[in-house]
């Protein structure tokens, strides 16, 4: 080739890979559905999502609200309380999740292409090569 592509959006197009990334980040049992109400959010501004991690299921974090992922045209988008993001999960939570998602995507591509995967870390960059 032939081609370079850069991906930098904060949405997750593939549900299966998002669930794999969430499990890697320690959220192994999300609830799947459609327009599920999020608990712990301001009742004047109720929110719904299609993938929900109940705050009571997140041990040791005392989250103020459920963490949700809403399905949009571009993929699933995270709905997280600002305070939870700043003081509990960490401001870089979505970035960490995004990185796990990319790694899960590379594993899926390797499987699809029937190739072998070589992973190396160079400073803050993870380089994954799939040979097929």
């Amino acid at each position: 080739m032939s081609k370079y592509m850069t991906f930098d959006s904060q949405s997750f197009p593939n549900r299966e890979l998002l669930l794999e990334a969430l499990a890697e980040c320690g959220f192994a049992s999300p609830i799947l559905g459609s327009n599920l109400p999020l608990e712990g959010w301001d009742k004047r501004n109720p929110r719904t999502a299609d993938i929900v991690i109940r705050r009571r299921d997140v041990k040791g974090q005392s989250l103020l609200g459920d963490v949700g992922f809403l399905k949009t045209e571009k993929g699933y988008v995270a709905i997280i309380d600002d305070m939870d993001l700043t003081y509990r999960l960490g401001k870089d939570f979505v970035i960490r999740l995004q990185n796990s998602y990319y790694e899960a995507a590379a594993r899926k591509m390797a499987k699809k292409l029937g190739g072998t995967l070589i992973k190396e870390r160079i400073g803050k960059t993870i380089k994954i090569r799939i040979k097929y």
């Binding site: 080739m1 032939s2 081609k3 370079y4 592509m5 850069t6 991906f7 930098d8 959006s9 904060q10 949405s11 197009p13 593939n14 890979l17 571009k74 993929g75 870089d92 979505v94 970035i95 960490r96 995004q98 990185n99 990319y102 790694e103 995507a105 590379a106 899926k108 591509m109 699809k112 292409l113 190739g115 803050k124 960059t125 993870i126 380089k127 994954i128 090569r129 799939i130 040979k131 097929y132």
Partner: protein, 63 residues
């Protein structure tokens, strides 16, 4: 040997992919599969090899 490379910037949460080892538009199948799992890219650049037309050679034996 074709190769797909992912470069994940763990600080920024971005991913750059490169498909290598093809001539012409043969890489499009792998590119399509990448878009299926990663969504639409914010940038897409075709390398020089993309514009190369693969030549198929015909050989014949002389009597």
């Amino acid at each position: 040997m074709p190769e797909v490379e992912f470069k994940i910037d763990t600080e920024r949460g971005t991913c750059e992919t490169e498909i290598k080892g093809y001539q012409g538009a043969a890489c499009e199948k792998a590119a399509k599969q990448l878009k299926e799992v990663l969504g639409d890219p914010s940038a897409e650049t075709k390398k020089q090899e993309y514009f190369v037309t693969p030549i198929s050679r015909l050989t014949s034996k002389r009597k």
